[in-house]
């Protein structure tokens, strides 16, 4: 099978990788680039565990053809913060206990980051709409929504 060259910007670095023509962006991130933060949940664009940001917008990478991403700017959870220097949204999720099994967390955090970049003080309804494509099977969302509000407050204080 002939591999194709895919070039894009990934977490603020230029990346060039050889991919199968029918690979999804999630395949390439997880299998070829060893970035396993984005999760394969449903694999059908229903659960949002595979969410990454493409040009700043949350997208389900499990149904996104990898070659569609050519020339675009991709951000994954790995690009957000480091263990010593967490992103304010990551810190808020930890502080508020908005994490249980953790499978949905990278997607939740990336979607929240995109929301807060557009809207610094979202209402509860706006948070719910923004997160409506990210499913959590453990926490019941209360703590997640709370963490988003805390993150918004902390970012506004910076």
């Amino acid at each position: 099978m002939k591999l194709e060259v895919l070039q894009f910007e990934l977490n603020a670095r230029k990346v060039s990788v050889r991919v199968k023509p029918d690979a999804t962006l999630l395949d390439v991130l997880r299998e070829d680039l060893d970035l396993t933060g984005a999760k394969r949940g449903c694999g059908e664009g229903e659960c949002g565990a595979c969410t990454v940001l493409i040009d700043g917008m949350p997208v389900d990478s499990c149904i996104y053809p990898a070659l569609k991403a050519a020339g675009k700017n991709i951000e994954t959870i790995e690009g957000l913060g480091t263990e010593d220097n967490l992103h304010p949204v990551q810190k808020a999720f930890l502080d508020e206990g908005a994490v249980q099994c953790g499978f949905c967390t990278p997607g939740m955090i990336l979607t929240t980051t995109a929301l807060l970049a557009k809207n610094q003080s979202p209402s509860e309804e706006e948070v719910k709409v923004a997160l409506s494509g990210n499913l959590c099977r453990c926490t019941g969302y209360t703590k997640i929504i709370n963490a988003v509000k805390v993150a918004a407050r902390n970012i506004n204080k910076l």
């Binding site: 029918d22 999804t24 969410t51 149904i63 409506s132 494509g133």
Partner: protein, 301 residues
């Protein structure tokens, strides 16, 4: 292998040339939020995908001479964020906001939603009620206009063949004192297929307290979205009143013939739903504003 080649084109011309070259073995892909799954499940087969989603000449929402024109690669997110649509064509803004989830809306396009021809596609229900037309480019260089009323042939089947044709633009006329609304019932607010979608577009004559024009599109009650012609006629027959809305809703109930469905409920329930939601959506639509020449606000019946 779901497909062998994935080509992102830089111009419309290039896309049409590739379709011609591959003679049916290549097809266009927009956001791919439905198509990728259909190819994976082998519901559709293709060798070459030609990605037109980034072409700027296919992404716009504009008003020209009383018409709204929309480029086919405009995403649902872009439609849902359009102040022009929220001001003048609420039904379409609501429909675009109802598609899938934010992740799906950021990628999926209105053109894709149309060509994919699912029986209750949100934007399609709105566009049928808006009496929209599409402009389609053929790979022989020709161009044709197709009204929405002729566009759909069956479940998942539209007149547009993405192996040889490109949907370029969707357009519709704004009506005087236009009122519109989308009624949507689903199991949850996000990521749930509609149990019922109703798109309503009205043009009111406030002086005489009547309607100039009334269009009701309901789906899914048939393989393709359905205009409720009898209900529309009823609405034009006399002055606006609560009784008139009730008669029109009854006419929609009579015309709807949905099948028993494990997902959506049985025939009796779904018919009753058509009646109740037609009435409610008519009420909501009448309380909105929009279209052209609308200064005096909403009317109540």
């Amino acid at each position: 292998m779901y497909w062998e080649k994935y080509l992102k084109v830089k111009t419309l011309h290039e896309a049409m040339e590739i379709l011609k070259l591959y003679q049916g073995k290549a097809r266009l892909i927009a956001g791919g939020t439905d198509l990728v799954l259909q190819l994976r499940e082998k519901k559709k087969r293709v060798s070459v995908l030609v990605d037109i989603s980034d072409l700027p000449e296919l992404q716009y929402i504009k008003e020209e001479h009383g018409q709204i024109k929309i480029g086919a690669m405009t995403t649902h997110s872009q439609l849902a964020a359009s102040p022009l649509l929220w001001e003048k064509v609420i039904v379409l803004a609501q429909a675009a906001s109802s598609v899938g989830s934010p992740q799906i809306r950021n990628v999926g396009t209105v053109g894709g939603n149309i060509v994919n021809a699912q029986p209750a596609a949100d934007t399609v229900v709105a566009l049928m009620a808006l009496d929209a037309k599409v402009v389609v480019f053929n790979n022989d260089g020709g161009e044709e206009k197709i009204p929405f009323s002729e566009l759909f042939l069956g479940v998942g089947e539209s007149k547009i063949d993405p192996t040889s044709q490109l949907l370029k633009e969707i357009s519709f006329s704004l009506l005087p004192e236009m009122r519109s609304s989308l009624g949507r019932l689903a199991r949850r607010k996000a990521l749930a297929l509609p149990i019922l979608n109703i798109g309503i577009v009205l043009s009111v004559n406030k002086k005489e307290n009547r309607l100039h024009e009334a269009r009701i599109c309901v789906a899914p009650v048939a393989p393709v979205p359905m205009r409720m012609k009898e209900a529309e006629k009823t609405l034009l027959s006399r002055k606006l009143s609560d009784e008139l809305l009730i008669s029109a809703s009854k006419a929609a109930f009579d015309a709807a013939d949905p099948r028993n469905s494990k997902l959506r409920g049985n025939t009796a329930y779904r018919k009753e739903l058509v009646r109740v939601m037609t009435y409610r959506t008519l009420k909501t639509a009448l309380a909105t504003r929009g279209g052209v020449g609308d200064e005096a606000g909403s009317i109540t019946v």
